[in-house]
Symmetry: C2
DNA sequence: TGCGGGGTTGACGCGGCGTCAAGGTCAAGC
DNA sequence: GCTTGACCTTGACGCCGCGTCAACCCCGCA
């Protein structure tokens, strides 16, 4: 008597697969003997072999029946479509491999090379690693948001770094990391920042186009989270009429030229 | 406030994906506001972007955490392994495509070309399509069982067909399909078959090596199922001392040469 | 009578979410 | 104050092709 395991062996499939085909109606349930065993005939093996041949060639089980019953034309059409899907899947995997290679090549932090170079420059200037990490996270956000403008934005940042004030600011912030939040020296930092902001406003810089208001707000929030003293600094600046950090804005029209006078609030 | 959908938009993932990452512990659950909404911070977006970058490059979610925490060497090793898997998967799919192309080229019945050619020859001899289908199913079984010997077996069958007795037998069986099971002419068929069997035994043919006894039994059963008169035919032959059909065997040593004498049982 | 190697059904697991159901919440417009 | 529509919540099933238990029955042999 042909039991399920012998049928499986003849057809080159597993017992479990046969039961699965029964479950989904691809292979009719055979009659049972008195103890409930399935008893097959040779025709079942033939059908199994044909199912297995198709399945092994990538035909989804849901379409096997249809293809077994098809005439030559429908069969060819079905095969073409399945092959199209296989090709698409292979393309997808190749794309995945490309991205994986990109990871290996350096952007495992979700950052393009130019940003990594920029961060290296900061590192070379002596900027503290903690600050670089905060900076890096900011750039991860930006790069995800405007991936095709990131090069231009970074180029601008490199220019900024040619300004000694900017470098001094970074180094001051370096020290500020260990200050208590109410350290009076924060005011010095505010002075430098304000000077830079004024220059930026005067030269008409507006930041990258695609940075929306809400995204700028997000970046500001990220900056606030990154350091305990950041809130103080922003508060002082806001007192002097500056709003935002990512996107510079002077908000009341009054007190237009307090440059270089220090904190007089 | 950063809701889940805004975070999803910033990170370029779906809301459902974020919840999934929470479920599997890849992204920590953030605090909730008073109405139960998750409230995120910018750091969560950064982590999400990094998760997404890895996942998109084919890193299984189960390994993302590990790679996020890894140093450069472990990271590189992990990436290499994942890439190996991707390559293997692509190879697998290419193999699948090959098999699919094979299907399209003709063996959609799970039969190699040489068997199809053989069946075409039978068809050309005037063998009935019903008989060819039975024959075909038998060959599907054989081809699945001994795929690398099928060419040799078929070559032997082609030689057999050069014998006019064999052709006559096929054509007689053609007619026999419509005979009632107890038609006396079955004896004529038995005579021819016996003649052929004797010749086969004398020339020392033994059938393909890899055909085991149990498989021969299966093929005999398949032959029995294929036609109602087959049982009669086998019964007559067995009466004359012949056992089996697929594998020819003379079983009692007595009555060694009843050739061409007809049914004397 | 026990054992070892069959068979049976039923259920969960995998991977990475998509998608639906059945609600509670929020901001805005009437 | 009420409705509307967009968004949030949890919970659950679905996909695809089986692999892999678990718990139990059946058969032949020593």
């Amino acid at each position: 008597m042909l039991t399920i395991s012998r049928v499986a062996a003849y057809a080159g499939v597993t017992v479990r697969a046969i039961r699965h085909y029964h479950e989904i109606g691809l292979l009719p349930e055979p009659v049972r003997d008195r103890s409930g065993y399935r008893t097959y005939d040779a025709a079942a093996i033939v059908r199994l072999i044909r199912i297995h041949t198709l399945a092994d060639a990538g035909v989804p089980l849901a379409r096997v029946q249809e293809l077994l019953d098809a005439g030559p034309d429908e069969f060819a059409a079905g095969v073409r479509e399945i092959d199209k899907n296989l090709r698409a899947e292979i393309r997808r995997l190749r794309g995945t491999r490309q991205r994986l290679a990109g990871l290996a090549a350096g952007d495992r932090l979700a950052l393009p090379r130019c940003v990594l170079d920029y961060l290296d420059r900061l590192r070379a200037l002596g900027v503290d690693e903690r600050q670089i990490e905060a900076e890096r996270d900011g750039w991860i956000l930006v790069a995800a948001q405007v991936p095709d403008q990131i090069d231009a934005v970074i180029a601008q940042k490199h220019e900024d770094l040619d300004n000694p004030d900017v470098v001094e600011l970074y180094l001051l912030l370096n020290d500020a990391l260990d200050w208590p939040p109410d350290d009076p020296r924060v005011v010095e930092i505010a002075d430098i920042v304000e000077r830079l902001m004024i220059r930026a406003v005067q030269s008409g810089e507006a930041g990258p186009d695609a940075i929306t208001d809400s995204f700028a707000t997000l970046l500001d929030a990220a900056m606030l989270e990154s350091s305990p003293g950041a809130a103080r600094l922003l508060a002082i600046l806001e007192d002097r009429g500056w709003k935002g950090w990512t996107r510079i804005e002077k908000f009341p029209a009054n007190r237009l030229d307090p440059a270089m006078t220090g904190d007089d609030a």
